[in-house]
């Protein structure tokens, strides 16, 4: 979006402060930190993405809320922050994945999917008349190089993590993860640790209806969401 349709918006709304900060990006990160907690863990044989699904009202049809989304056969993502903004990124991520596949004849690597998203996010910090995206995404997937987990931020930066949390209570979660995550984790272990971590910071009793879980294993390389029954089984199996 170059925004040159009107001279009135031909300048970027994200500008430097004298101290060298980009205020709008910091505010966007604040929006992310207000969002519900999302956790991602990489195991040696896969990735798990977990998020809190807190409904504002019992009248909301829970199944219509989709926070963990598929981006490509081998890549999925979850967000924290403004859901409407994340929908734009998910759509863009899916399209770019297909464009890459048609152009190069193979699935893009997880890093490519993440970097394409960051390119879009960065452009919204330096284009006319637009604001940065109010969400961070955790992008997880499996490619020939193995499983990888990426965080993409409103600033357009990307970080590859072994395990991380974003949104509310992310600091508490990360402290928990630091203690529990080891290099030789299996995907099963990772799912349990992610759910335990969410349980730590969840207000009330954590049930399947309160969370969404997405997994991808190196066995089949296909991203999928766990059903409520599977999540309940996992939660019941936690210490």
């Amino acid at each position: 979006m170059s925004g040159f349709d009107s001279d009135r918006y031909s300048f970027s709304l994200t500008t430097f402060s004298p101290s060298g900060k980009l205020g709008q990006i910091d505010h966007a990160l604040a929006a992310v930190n207000n969002g519900s907690t999302s956790i991602g863990i990489k195991s040696h044989d896969g990735i798990v993405l977990v998020t809190e699904r807190k409904l504002k009202s019992a009248l909301i049809d829970k199944d219509s809320i989709k926070k963990v989304q598929i981006l490509a056969d081998n890549v999925g993502c979850v967000y924290s922050g403004i859901g409407a903004d994340s929908a734009v990124l998910v759509r863009s991520g899916r399209k770019n994945g297909e464009v890459y596949r048609r152009q190069f004849g193979e699935n893009p690597g997880v890093d490519t999917v993440a970097k394409d998203l960051t390119a879009k996010m960065q452009s919204y910090t330096q284009s006319g008349g637009v604001r940065p995206f109010g969400c961070s995404l955790l992008v997880g997937g499996v490619d020939p190089a193995g499983p990888s987990l990426w965080q993409v931020d409103p600033s357009g930066s990307s970080i590859r993590w072994k395990a991380t949390a974003i949104g509310k209570n992310s600091r508490t979660c990360k402290t928990f993860l630091e203690k529990r995550v080891t290099p030789d984790l299996s995907l099963d272990d990772a799912v349990k640790i992610a759910l335990l971590s969410l349980k730590e910071v969840f207000d009330g009793l954590l049930k399947a209806e309160h969370c969404e879980v997405g997994i991808i294993s190196t066995e089949d390389g296909l991203f999928r969401k766990m059903t409520d029954a599977e999540v309940t089984e996992q939660l019941d199996g936690l210490e």
Binding site: K66, I70, R91, R94, K95, E98, R101, R102
Partner: protein, 254 residues
Amino acid sequence: MPKQDTPQQVLAGLTSKNQFTKTGTTICGVICKNGVVLGADTRSTAGDIVMDKNCEKIHYIAPNIYCCGAGTAADTEYTTELISSQCKLHRYRTDRDTRVATAKTMLTRHLFQYQGHVSAALVLGGVDVLGPHLHTIYPHGSTDTLPFVAMGSGSLAAISMLEQGDADHQGWRPNMEVEEAVDLVKRAIHAGIFNDMGSGSNVDICVITKDEAGKIAADYRRNTDIANPRKYRRDVPYKLPATRLVEVNGDMDM
């Protein structure tokens, strides 16, 4: 009509035709109980020369939808790949299985846009939430919806098998069992392989069905019938010291 070559030109191996790789082709499809069966031969030609003795003419569109292609090989390949990609994005967006009508509409809109210059004649078949569907799509963008169809240069031979059958076999009838339908399609493709110069080699089949539980599965049977096997095959004649024999091609006519 392309300019006719003189016998002298043909003998000299020179032709004025722009001979891009086409699929002479026999493709067909039938609706059966709980599903559709698609079939195709495997010969692709450039003029009078067989370019590929075992090409794949049944293209993937979606897990529950496949499409046979006749006409210019590049056109059928690219068009089906394009629509397959668009259907995938559509599935992500809608969180539903692709419907055959959707794929059909995308294909026809594309072909109509190119006013017949995209030379792709397709047999589109699949099963979705509304049941089994079978269509033919012509290069200009028109469609037919029928219980059995055939396209390509061998379509006349194939359709006679589907319409009428022969002395020992019946043609198409409603509510055929899946394996009966597979047999019928094989015979129709055979008719094309043996009676049409533009078609030959082997038979590929794709069976798409929905079971009682409502689960849709596609069974892509590549080279289900090797109608023209290579009868004599020379053994690897000598052993080169530094090379390691990894694999010898099987019975495929390659």
